[in-house]
């Protein structure tokens, strides 16, 4: 009898331990996913911050450039750089035939002509002389140099030919290949060529969308929250508004995209693919988030503050505007930042309103077509070229960096400025 009891107790204790273990392993799993995730992104992405350059001697031959004696700055700008650019690449292998010359040309980006031009414009005295110029390597060679490209594939399955690899290896041995910080990733707009693609256009698109979103969502949401929390009578209608807000917070984001497409583009005829439309769509999405946050922090202001103001003869409006609202601002602001961070990561609605269009200029205003960072991730992730994989990861790192900064900022505002009542 006693033994039976002990067995039962043991069994129960074991069950207790097992249950605890389940809980621990659940948390462990969740954190494991997070770690794998971050590790994967960083390990594929960090190499995109480096860019491979080929150092090629270029002879600035005035004749080939169709330049006359003592050219002016204008002449230099209009000169023909293609021939000397081509020649300097072909000179890498003096006994190359025509096909091979073509392959040599494809070892650098199609931008090489302009890179040579920039060199000369910086220093016009180079005419007639030879200088080593840094040329952006093609994305395939870039990947080879970073070790992301399998060299042992048969040649017809590779985008780099054996001949290109041979020349490239020679250059590496000569120390004519260099890896430097990839500044163009941050300053160039999107491009079809992986080695030239940058996030500048989508970055500006994101900034403009978020600004438009902030300018619409913040005032409307704060005003709405003030009304609902401080002035609204308790009746059916305000209940209806509340239900509406709570539902909107849970409506799938793609439905907002359909709203933007069906109303903003089709009815109001706003320009497609612009951060303006994107920002308006996102603002409708963030509205409920900010309203809920603002109401919560208005509710947290103790009634004694309001009563004191009313007792001093302030009107209800003055009480609210001069006392309650300023005291609730820290909570509202941190809620707003969190809402904006959500909007910053949103992709689907922006795709529907056409912000996936290929944009190779940097937008200067919310009315220019643009992409946004998450959409850029989507665009690059869909392209087949190997060079884009690390770009996607790098773009994700930039985006995550922004989200982390915004969330930290929200935390700081909340902890530094929020008053603890009670």
């Amino acid at each position: 009898m006693n033994k039976n009891k002990e067995q039962l107790l043991n069994k129960r204790y074991k069950a207790e331990k097992r249950f605890r273990l389940y809980g621990q392993s659940a948390i462990f799993m969740a954190l494991l996913f997070l770690t794998i995730f971050i590790f994967k992104i960083f390990s594929t992405g960090y190499s995109a911050f480096q860019k491979t350059w080929l150092i090629v001697p270029v002879t600035f031959d005035a004749e080939l450039m169709m330049l006359e004696q003592n050219p002016s700055k204008e002449d230099l700008k209009d000169a023909d750089y293609y021939d000397i650019a081509l020649k300097s690449m072909a000179d890498l292998d003096p006994n190359a035939n025509e096909d091979q010359e073509n392959e040599l040309k494809r070892m650098v980006s199609y931008f090489f002509e302009r890179e040579i031009k920039r060199e000369l414009l910086n220093d016009p005295s180079l005419i007639g002389k030879t200088k080593d110029v840094y040329l952006t390597a093609s994305d395939d060679l870039d990947q080879v140099f970073k070790g992301n490209y399998p060299r042992d594939l048969p040649e017809d399955q590779r985008r780099v030919t054996d001949y290109q690899l041979k020349i490239f290896d020679q250059l590496v041995e000569l120390g004519k290949v260099e890896s430097k910080f990839n500044l163009s990733f941050f300053t160039y707009p999107d491009s079809r060529e992986a080695e030239l693609a940058g996030i500048a256009s989508s970055f500006m698109g994101s900034i403009f969308s978020i600004l438009v979103c902030l300018m619409i969502a913040f005032p409307v949401a704060v005003l709405a929250a003030i009304y609902l929390e401080e002035f609204a009578p308790k009746n059916r209608f305000t209940d209806f508004i509340e239900v509406n807000i709570n539902n909107l917070a849970a409506v799938p984001s793609i439905v907002f995209g359909l709203l933007g497409l069906g109303i903003l583009l089709a009815v109001f005829q706003l320009p497609r693919s612009t951060p303006l439309v994107g920002g308006i769509t996102l603002s409708l999405m963030t509205l409920p988030t900010i309203i809920i946050a603002c109401r919560a922090s208005l509710k947290a202001v103790p009634p004694s503050i309001r009563e004191a103001a009313l007792a001093m003869g302030a009107s209800k409006m003055q009480t609210t505007m001069h006392h309650t609202v300023p005291l609730s601002m820290p909570g509202t602001l941190s809620g707003t930042i969190i809402g904006l961070a959500q909007a910053l990561g949103e992709t689907a609605p922006l795709i529907l309103i056409g912000m996936v269009a290929f944009v190779n200029t940097i937008p200067g205003s919310p009315l220019d077509p643009a992409a946004s960072l998450p959409v850029q991730i989507y665009i690059w992730a869909e392209s087949a070229e190997r060079g884009f994989v690390e770009k996607v990861s790098a773009c994700i790192m930039v985006l995550l960096g922004f989200l982390i900064i915004m969330n930290l900022f929200a935390q700081i505002i909340r902890h530094k400025f929020e008053k603890k009542w009670s």
Binding site: R12, E16, M29, L34, A250, I254
Partner: protein, 457 residues
């Protein structure tokens, strides 16, 4: 013009306040603080002018268009052709027209320009006179020292009220944007075919030559949404298979077992998972999880698609873990301590208390949180677009690829859309069904959670 109105508004504020001071200096008692006089005048100055200004901006293009096209009205043009003529006219007047210039269009371009300039100047005159009239009215009111605080506050309250309507307006906007296209869609495709048809092949609708009349029989067997609904719920089901056990168990652990320190670190870390943009999950699923599963499957001799439902659903499940864990954590912590104490006093272990007392007590809240998670899973877009297939297969094999409502919407609407095309309308019909399903889930979930909260408060 807009800036001008704003500037006038500011100056009238100072005017109003100064007036109040002068009244004060004559030893009369003011009826409100001086700044209210200023606000009063500023509101009267800016608001009527602003309303006229925006009405004008809305109606001017339509009226100008009507006037221009009235020249062509009796020549038997179709609506589309008239629109084209109008666009040509506008382009010509801006000097951006590149096509052939006919004298007709040149004439209307000139007319367009003159109409525009008339409109501009008359707008300025009307807005100015409105400003003068309303400011004069308000100034007289102020001078007679009548009440100013009440009207100003009433105005502010009206502004607050209008802002609170934004939520309703958004909902109305969603419904409107969906409903018209959906109705048009069901005029061509019978509702029955959409809800019960088993073939989804919208690309077929593209083959049609746009000049041909719509032939409904062509679309039978094209827009059957069953495979898509099935795919949506299937992927959501896989996601919940991942999210419910992990999310629920970590919620329980955090609420009941974890020390303060573990809780302090683990909770925000898990919530990071909720803050990661979904496009990032999509990339992760497509690049890492999909090929990984395929490799494992191949090594076991299984034929796994690289875009399997399992990869998309699994990664989606990871995304939903934090929703379920933090909501159920909240729910469990709000179960009153007395229930726990009672159970411990009867000799129950901690896990027995959780399983037999706390879990049943918290069940409604937990169900609510799971429903919210399901609604997330159904509405999730980027993960499925990137990681799952785009062809709609009717299958229950998690290793094959399926498609979902959201993925189909994106596939159909990416790039240029022609409104009025059944394919585009199909996307809106899908959006409508998505909206309705998630709406029901949300309402039920929110109600359950709210009921639960009230029970213990």
């Amino acid at each position: 013009m807009f800036i001008f109105i704003v500037l006038l508004g500011f100056t009238s504020y100072y005017f109003g306040r100064r007036k109040a001071y002068t009244i004060q200096s004559t030893n009369k008692r003011l009826t409100a603080l001086p700044q209210f006089y200023g606000y009063y005048l500023a509101i009267w100055c800016a608001i009527p002018a602003f309303i006229i200004f925006s009405l004008w901006a809305i109606f001017e293009p339509t009226i100008v268009k009507l006037l221009i096209l009235s020249d062509y009205s009796n020549q038997g043009y179709l609506d589309d052709e008239l629109n084209l003529i109008y666009e040509k006219t506008k382009a010509l007047s801006r000097g951006q027209f590149t096509g052939e210039i006919t004298p007709f269009i040149e004439a209307s371009a000139e007319k367009y320009l003159s109409l525009r300039s008339i409109a501009q100047s008359s707008k300025a005159v009307i807005v100015l006179s409105i400003i003068i009239a309303s400011v004069a009215y308000a100034y007289k009111k102020i001078s007679s020292n009548s009440r100013t605080r009440e009207p100003v506050e009433k105005f502010l309250k009206a502004v607050l009220f209008t802002a609170s309507l934004a939520a309703i307006l958004t909902t109305v906007g969603i419904v409107f944007s969906l409903i018209f296209q959906t109705i048009d869609f069901f005029k061509v495709i019978p509702l029955f075919d959409f809800v019960f048809g088993t073939h989804w092949y919208p690309a077929k609708a593209f083959v049609r030559d746009s000049s041909e009349a719509l032939d409904p029989t062509m679309y039978s067997d094209t827009f059957g949404a069953v495979p898509i609904f099935a795919g949506t719920f299937f992927i959501a089901f896989i996601a919940m298979c991942v999210a419910i056990p992990i999310g629920l168990m970590s919620g329980i652990y955090l609420a009941e077992y974890a020390s303060v320190k573990v809780r302090q670190y683990a909770k925000p870390l898990i919530e990071i998972l909720a803050g990661i943009p979904t496009v990032v999950y999509g990339f992760f699923a497509a690049l890492t999880v999909g090929p990984f599963l395929k490799e494992i499957g191949n090594s076991m001799g299984l034929d796994v698609s690289a875009e399997s439902a399992l990869a998309a659903g699994g990664v989606m499940g990871i995304m939903i873990i934090p929703f379920i864990s933090s909501l159920s954590d909240d729910v469990i912590t709000s179960v009153p301590q007395s229930l726990r104490d009672g159970s411990y006093a009867m000799g129950a272990t901690k896990s027995e208390t959780i399983k037999k007392v706390i879990f049943p007590a918290a069940l409604p809240g937990i169900v609510g949180s799971i429903l919210l998670g399901v609604s997330r899973a159904i509405g999730e877009t980027m993960i499925v677009v990137m990681a799952s297939g785009l062809a709609a297969n009717l299958t229950l094999n998690p290793l094959e690829s399926t498609s979902t409502i959201t993925a189909q919407i994106v596939v159909i609407l990416i790039g240029d859309q022609a409104f009025g095309d059944p394919k585009t309308q199909a996307a809106f019909a899908l959006g409508m069904s998505l909206f309705l399903v998630t709406l029901c889930l949300n309402i039920v979930a929110l109600r359950v959670v709210k009921k639960y909260r009230e029970k213990y408060e």
